[in-house]
Symmetry: C2
Subunit: 342 residues, 2 copies
Amino acid sequence: MTAKKVTIEDVARQAGVGIATVSRAINNAEGISAKTRMRILQTIEELGFVPNTSAQSLKVRLTNQIALAVPDIRNAIIPDISWAVEQAAKAHGYRVVQINTAGNARAELEVVRDIKKLHVDGLIIMPLAYPKALPELIDKAGVPISVINYGKQLDDSLQADVVCLSILEGKLVMDHLQQIGRSRIAYAGTQKDVIEDRYLAYERALNRVDASLVYFGEDFSLQTGIRAADYFHGLAHMPDAVYAVNDMVAIGLVNRFKELGVRVPEDVAVVGVDNNQWTTISSPQISSVSIMGSEVARLAAELLLKRIREQTRGDYEKVQFEPRLIVRESSVSLKRSPMHGS
Amino acid sequence: MTAKKVTIEDVARQAGVGIATVSRAINNAEGISAKTRMRILQTIEELGFVPNTSAQSLKVRLTNQIALAVPDIRNAIIPDISWAVEQAAKAHGYRVVQINTAGNARAELEVVRDIKKLHVDGLIIMPLAYPKALPELIDKAGVPISVINYGKQLDDSLQADVVCLSILEGKLVMDHLQQIGRSRIAYAGTQKDVIEDRYLAYERALNRVDASLVYFGEDFSLQTGIRAADYFHGLAHMPDAVYAVNDMVAIGLVNRFKELGVRVPEDVAVVGVDNNQWTTISSPQISSVSIMGSEVARLAAELLLKRIREQTRGDYEKVQFEPRLIVRESSVSLKRSPMHGS
DNA sequence: TTTCGTTATGTAAAGCTTTAAATATAAGAC
DNA sequence: GTCTTATATTTAAAGCTTTACATAACGAAA
């Protein structure tokens, strides 16, 4: 009933050939006649033989698998990333196994340190915590690594190909909000150092940051957006725009504002980042910055697969994509006549 | 700079001991003095030795990893499942690698057939397509398997532990809709056989199915909901309630209805299934059935880990949880005074 | 000092495959 | 029928670890 552990030797004996011949049959190698191959495949079928992968990759160093380590699978942009990587890998005959680091420093280190245990030929990692020791571990990981960089200025010496999920999204948002005449612009995000660049762009765009207009929540979730809305609503002098660290937070904000009777975009404009599918479902629809998740992920995968194929090291690529702002209902200009007036 | 492939033998030579001793040091085995262990660990550090997992698991059959195969990672319930499995696994010192089958029959077969290549001790699979050959492959997979069953009546003879993502959710929805006085109840889903049970419950609850009130889309996405809303809106005689195969579709429906000027729940009640996080964000908030994804996933993981630990086969568990209907704004009774009247 | 019982360490086999090198077989030329 | 050459097949080594078994070291008891 079960594969009781039938080895290549059993197959060879049964089929009356040598083990090398069986191996050739398995691997579609040449130097074997069509009819013996047939016979062997038949025997394999009968005996229910399945080659032991551990033994195989003990000799052949490749596994035809790559790993993808993502921060928090509950963040709505991850699916796009993972999907794109999967497609690219499949096109090269590769399988993808996904690991969840939960944006946790320890987990990020662990996946790189233990990458060999995963039985993969390479790793695409999208770090969030960026623990100090990461570059060093990447350096001695032993397999090629691609980094999908999410809002952090990285040291150029990193021994990995790096593709950035756009580095300029913050500037785009701030420029836009100022252009449509908003002057009290708030920021809603997680701790300032988690997606550092997005917050730094906020600081840079302003002469002086009003600390009361900055809200740091615990994560990237709807909840954070909801709490931020409560917080801003409680202020003596409300902001007239909010730059949200991502769409999840933006959606939480907008929905809570609605409940509180704050009109979006008339009273407050809201802009998110990531341009996930929910931005168009929310009402009002939410302006956002497309960070080209799919393209970035695909490129990261291609670069990795290329390194695996060519077994090269050094001379690492550092790529970044041009982000695109997509203006929707949640951030209309103040000068236009508002559509949603009561 | 790189791990050039330093083996246990190099370490042994360098430390002036036998390879068995090094092995003992690595695995915290007993029968080694504290000081030699220290010395060896030091040498390992110096040389940057990392044990070859292929060679290891060629001897020891276990890898301390399990695989989780999920249908479409873009479906909003998957994250909960995956999260719960991860937690359970971690508690037992196991790592989880996730595979995306995209609900594709071929991929579902492949992951079971090739499970050995994944270098894992067991598999949790959540099939959608349920291809015919699946039970047979599960039977001879060679590692224990847990099935998370999503809306399909399964053959009891399946050689795997099965935990059902509630089997009665459809009945709950239909009972509820009829109870609040809806008589023209529509169904919006994917093809009837994909999440078979949910549709069958619809049929069972009605004397006669009006074919014009059934909409089958392509997937479980928002898009399907949007198209369904367009379809129903175009009917000469609109339904007064829609039972959506899941929350994604329900949310798509509600939002499109709003755009079309159809009032929810006054004109049409909408109920989804899965109870994902977006149901409470949508406005109106959406009634849904909690299918206990986390609990189900955790149990599936526990059962799998138990089998791995005890190396048992046969006598498989078939468990199902009690679903819970959660009534929100989208399906208020017709008799109550509507809150949202214009 | 000898002997015994423990504990620490080393040796060698086993685990299963791939592959280089050696050998056998078949086909073709003369 | 013999020789050459190309093709098919087999043998044996290598890949790296764990572990059963054998051996060595050590301290304690006699």
